[in-house]
């Protein structure tokens, strides 16, 4: 019988914690942001989602967003997130994958 004792290679991680936002009681009358990172196809999914939300929930309004920086994928900066948060009640996003 033999024992091999070794050191654990896996690093501890810095933990982050974010409290989820309160959900909306209803989507009626809500202003909904549609965020697309510009990866191919994501815009078509948001187009259909907007149409379905309009059909089902009265008084909804929509705003379209993409990130202000990036290339294949466009990302939101902190300023982008501040602006979106000030303008909408909820966000549907797609990164296309």
């Amino acid at each position: 019988m033999a024992r091999l004792e070794i050191l654990n290679p896996v690093a501890k991680t810095v933990e982050h914690s974010v409290k989820p936002a309160p959900r909306l009681p209803t989507l009626e009358g809500a202003t909904i942001g549609l965020y697309w990172n510009m990866k191919a196809g994501g815009d078509a999914a948001l187009d259909r989602t907007e149409a379905l939300l309009r059909e089902k929930f009265g008084g909804t309004t929509f705003r379209r967003y993409t990130g202000s920086v990036g290339w294949l994928m466009r990302h939101c900066t902190a300023e982008d997130a501040d602006r979106i948060a000030a303008e909408v009640d909820a966000v549907v996003g797609t990164t296309a994958d």
Partner: protein, 448 residues
């Protein structure tokens, strides 16, 4: 999405089934493990609008629920064992070692090749090669926000087969990985085959017996030092940065380059100043450069004796539009939204000594090659835009909308001439290597 939740805005994110684990893990690393998803069967990319609309319709209930129902905490959070020592019993040490390999594979901690056991004694031998203490943090490594202490790097280096001479080089490489401009989160987690190309310059690379000549990128005994250092970088990305396949590394095809891709520059046979000197370091400094690359193409030419002819051949490698970085500048720059760093897409050329002499005899240095390649490596706009999202180009470069009316106009493959990085590597015969890069290289000095 997590940043919007932090600001009090409920969100839901369309996610393909394949990427659900990745999305949960990514959201958890940013602090919100239960981020609501609307799961669809396939990625939207390469799907017809009709198919995408159908997927959106079938996921509509999840969209509503994500915005209106309370967020549920995930059932279980994966944690590596807290025990800093692991024990494997067997009939003999070889049997115990086999059990260690099996366990590491099951946990995802292995690159697939047999690992050297990181015993306390072996790790201690590496730790003596640096003035830093074992607990000293070198960096926090994304995507998992792993704390890269010197000891954790040494453990992974031992597993890769490294000796004490490699640890300072690995520390420098990890500092490259953690540099904000590297934006490693993107490269580690992508569906693309991003491989860290590690190029070492200076006396510490020579002291570590890194091969810069024949078959520098391996395999074989002359490149053994290169192989283990490059492997240590990959294992560090995995076990320190928490870049695990299928969890946080979503590479579609993968690449053998991701196992190990490392060499030194052949400074002795270069007609030019060493690569690191061209990047502002002192000639006697030792440096490590990391450039993430997607793939490699040979630069073969036994015939040309004039620089312009060689550049024409090199340009054929550079004008491969199937490679994601080719012409990517048309739709913007790789950018980390947190640090607001931006990267231009670079490509690295390993020019063999014989080709380097063809250029040098004509009085050409790096700058002349870069300028000539920038002029030669162009493609018609209609070809360049084939695999790029037109709306992204309209967003990034609205001033270039006129190109749509001139589809046959040749467009450069990179943003500017300095996007070609040039090092001299290899032995005799006219065969170099063109690496299709992902973003910009980062260079760090090697410290004791």
């Amino acid at each position: 999405m997590v940043e919007l939740e932090r600001r009090g805005i409920p969100t839901v994110l369309f996610t393909a089934q394949t990427f659900v684990h990745d999305a949960h893990r990514s959201a958890a690393s940013f602090g919100l493990a239960g981020l609501p998803l609307a799961v669809v069967p396939l990625p939207f990319t390469n799907q017809t609008p009709r198919d995408i609309q159908g997927m959106a319709e079938r996921a509509f209930d999840q969209v509503q629920a994500g915005l209106t129902r309370p967020v549920e905490a995930p059932k279980a959070v994966e944690r590596p064992p807290l025990d800093e020592r692991l024990r494997y019993d067997g009939d003999d040490l070889l049997d115990a070692w086999g059990r260690m390999q099996t366990d590491f594979l099951a946990r995802g901690w292995s690159d697939g090749f047999p690992l050297v056991p990181p015993t306390e004694r072996a790790v201690a031998a590496l730790l003596r090669s640096t003035r830093r203490g074992p607990a000293d943090p070198i960096a926090t490594l994304e995507p998992g926000f792993g704390i890269a202490t010197v000891e954790k790097l040494a453990i992974n280096a031992v597993m890769a087969g490294c000796g004490p001479e490699h640890l300072p080089l690995l520390i420098a490489a990890v500092r490259c990985l953690a540099e904000p401009k590297m934006y490693i989160r993107n490269k580690a987690m992508s569906t693309g085959p991003h491989a860290p190309l590690v190029l070492v310059n200076g006396p510490k690379g020579r002291a570590a017996n890194l091969n810069s000549g024949m078959c520098a990128l391996g395999p074989g005994a002359p490149s053994a030092s290169n192989t283990v250092l490059g492997r240590a970088v990959r294992l560090t990305m995995m076990n320190v940065g928490h870049t695990y396949v299928g969890v946080s590394d979503m590479d579609t095809i993968g690449s053998p380059l991701k196992y190990s891709l490392c060499c030194a520059e052949n400074e002795a046979e270069s007609p030019w100043e060493p690569y690191h000197v061209s990047r502002g370091f002192a000639r006697d400094a030792s440096t490590v450069t990391v450039h993430f690359v997607y793939g490699i193409c040979e630069l073969h030419d036994f015939r040309s004796t004039a620089p312009d002819d060689l550049v024409q051949v090199f340009a054929t490698a550079a004008t491969n539009v199937a490679q994601v970085g080719t012409g990517l500048w048309l739709i913007g720059r790789r950018a980390d939204p947190r640090s607001k760093t931006e990267e231009k897409e670079h490509n690295t050329l390993f020019i063999c000594p014989e080709h380097a002499q063809v250029f040098a005899k004509a009085g050409w240095g790096r700058r002349e090659i870069q300028a000539a390649l920038y002029r030669a490596a162009r493609l018609p706009f209609r070809t360049m835009i084939l695999n790029k999202e037109p709306k992204a180009m309209a967003t990034a470069h609205p001033e270039l909308a006129w190109l749509a009316d001139h589809p046959d106009l040749p467009v450069p493959v990179v943003e500017e001439p300095t996007c070609f990085d040039i090092a001299v590597v290899g032995a005799a015969a006219g065969r170099g290597a063109y690496f299709y890069g992902a973003g910009e290289p980062v260079t760090m000095p090697v410290e004791d």
